[in-house]
């Protein structure tokens, strides 16, 4: 898989080295600045994903209606869903593609950190040396100063403080990020999965961080904090839609007061549901097609 990250590696390693030198041999400051730059540069890839998620959230009532109507005919269900997406101008895969595109960048960044903190000869020679051995400016920086507070950034944090912070910031970032299922009262299964991810991902990250170099843990924390800041501004610029309670929505008393009209394949169902929602919650300023 190295071929996937190789185009980005020289940029990442040299970027880390440049800022390391600029900040008076501070790896953490270098890491923080480069994380902010990388996150900002990949922002244009993240925005369509967020827009797509929001649009899908808006369409959840119609989606639920179609799913309910064609429960036993999955082929027809898919056709109607695709039609709905097409009419709303949504590409369901559009959310995944930008994510996949930025993965090699993030991976390269991760590897650049690992290689920069190398303290064994192979990683220094084959890893970092591959990118900076010919650089007169950066060659003299090796080995990098890996001390930060009580940490040796090249080794795991023996106090478990960083793994806890990684878990916490991962959870907070997820909490800030609206998901299609959670924000729209999507189907129970998807909601359950989303909620399960909310818990398992931070735990998984925290657990894995226990045995990783603390430099990587610091990166995860900085990245999460930057991600939270970015998400905060995105949320302000693009408020999360509040569609009608879905057919599977809660609470049941509200569903009773707003009985769902008969769904129509053309999306009329969605309109009436959205309007119903607006009345009930006092929101729903958006017009649907």
């Amino acid at each position: 898989m190295d071929w996937l990250i190789e185009p980005f590696m020289p940029i990442m390693v040299n970027g880390l080295m440049f800022f390391y030198q600029l900040f008076g041999n501070s790896f953490v400051l270098s890491l923080a600045l480069l994380t902010i730059i990388v996150r900002l540069l990949t922002l244009p890839l993240m925005l369509p994903m967020q827009k797509s998620a929001r649009k899908q959230a808006e369409l959840q009532p119609q989606i639920q209606a179609i799913r309910k109507k064609y429960t036993k005919n999955s082929q027809k269900q898919n056709e109607e869903l695709m039609k709905l997406y097409r009419e709303a101008g949504i590409n369901p895969m559009a959310g995944c593609l930008p994510m996949l595109i930025q993965l090699p960048v993030m991976w390269a960044f991760y590897q650049a950190i690992v290689r920069s903190l190398a303290f064994d000869p192979g990683k220094l020679f084959f890893g970092l040396g591959k990118y900076i051995a010919s650089s007169a400016a950066f060659s003299t920086l090796v080995p990098l100063n890996s001390r930060f507070l009580w940490l040796n950034l090249a080794t795991p944090d023996s106090t478990y403080v960083l793994p806890i912070l990684v878990g916490l910031t991962t959870w907070l970032q997820q909490k800030l990020t609206p998901s299609t299922a959670a924000s729209s009262g999507g189907e129970d299964q998807a909601q359950a999965m989303s909620q399960s991810m909310m818990l398992t991902m931070p735990l998984m990250f925290a657990f894995i961080t226990i045995n990783l170099a603390s430099g990587l843990a610091v990166y995860f924390i900085i990245s999460n904090l930057v991600g939270m800041a970015i998400q905060f501004f995105i949320n302000r610029a693009m408020p999360t839609p509040q569609p009608a309670a879905s057919l599977a929505g809660k609470p049941p008393t509200q569903a009773k007061t707003t009985p769902a009209p008969k769904p129509s394949p053309a999306g009329g169902q969605g309109q009436s549901q959205a309007r119903g929602s607006s009345k009930r919650k006092g929101k729903g300023k958006r017009k649907r097609k």
Binding site: M1, D2, Q77, N78, L81, C96, M99, L103, M106, W107, Y110, Q111, V114, R115, F119, D120, P121, G122, K123, L124, F125, F126, G127, G129, A133, S134, A136, S139, T140, V142, P143, W150, N152, A154, T155, S158, T159, Y160, Q189, A190, M193, M197, F205, I208, L212, L216
Partner: protein
Amino acid sequence: MKYAKRLAIGLLFVIALLIITGCTTIPQAWPGLAADSEAVYVTLAGKIHAVDPDNGNAMWIFPSEPARQSGLGCSGPAKPESGLFYASPVLGQDVVFAGSDIGKVYALNRTNGTQQWMFISQEETERGLSNFFSERKNPSIIGSPTLDGETIYIPSANRNLYAVDATSGIKQWDFQANDAIWASPLMTKDRIYVAAMDQKLYCLDRETRKELWAFDTGGAIPSTPALVGDTIYVSSLSQQVVALDANTGEQRWMFEVDSWAWATPLVISDTVYVSEVNGTLFALDAKTGDEQWYFDTQGRIQAVPAYADGTLYLASEDMNLYALDAATGTQEWQFTASAALMSAPIVVDDMLYVVSMDNKVHGLNADSGAKIWEYNPTAEK
């Protein structure tokens, strides 16, 4: 759609795990080689192998238990309990010494591989809040120890140089540099030269261990300097090779290269051979540092060349072992291995030994480069 969603989430999880576990194909180190007329000793994938120089058959392997399988995400065998051996073994009269990346130095019986003693350079601090302010030191033994009389001098990545009794394994004293020590120390009658990753070459009084002088090369020093007469030659990651007065530490000359100078310089007569990692070997006048000739390879060079009877044997990452005329740099022949050659070759009598990164030891005829035998421990069961 439900299944597609689940699949997508599952895939993302797997990708995330792969990223987190940091799978990479970077080798951790290269095999180390030592040989004499009785045996060839090689450190391969966390084990020390003693190989019969006549036929390439294994004599013994330490430790004898098989390596465990690796965990999630990354391929390759897991780290053995003895650690990985970065450094080449060192040969004593009856004992072979080898240091591992978990700070253990083993003294093994040369005949059967049984452990005589073990020295631990520095154990890592234990996890827990009680160690909140304690410093975790990496105890790896990267460079080969130096055996001098009854004492073995062990360089450690925890910044210490240990003097240890070679027969008992008991520590006598230690010296601390400002950063890891990857290079083997050089011993003279009254001095000790220690090259460290803190960019300095230290000269110590052998008796008092007091620092007589230190020279800052401006770059980390990963390999052992070469001492000939009253001149000491040092390769540095500052892209320089410097020649210093061994008595005073004053610089005599400096030769600049285009990339890291990693390998130990080799001094033969009036010529010093130095290499840069980008794959070029230079022959320099030992007195002036003037370039005499150079030889380019297509791969990187980490190892010091071997020399015998007017011929240099140069190992390169391009999988070739080059036999060069030491006087002119003219290529005499080349041997192509099955993988990169990163370790220093060794000549014993008319045999040339070289080990490739696919963990094969090649026994060659030193005159012609013809392969006589190959030791492949993965095939040996």
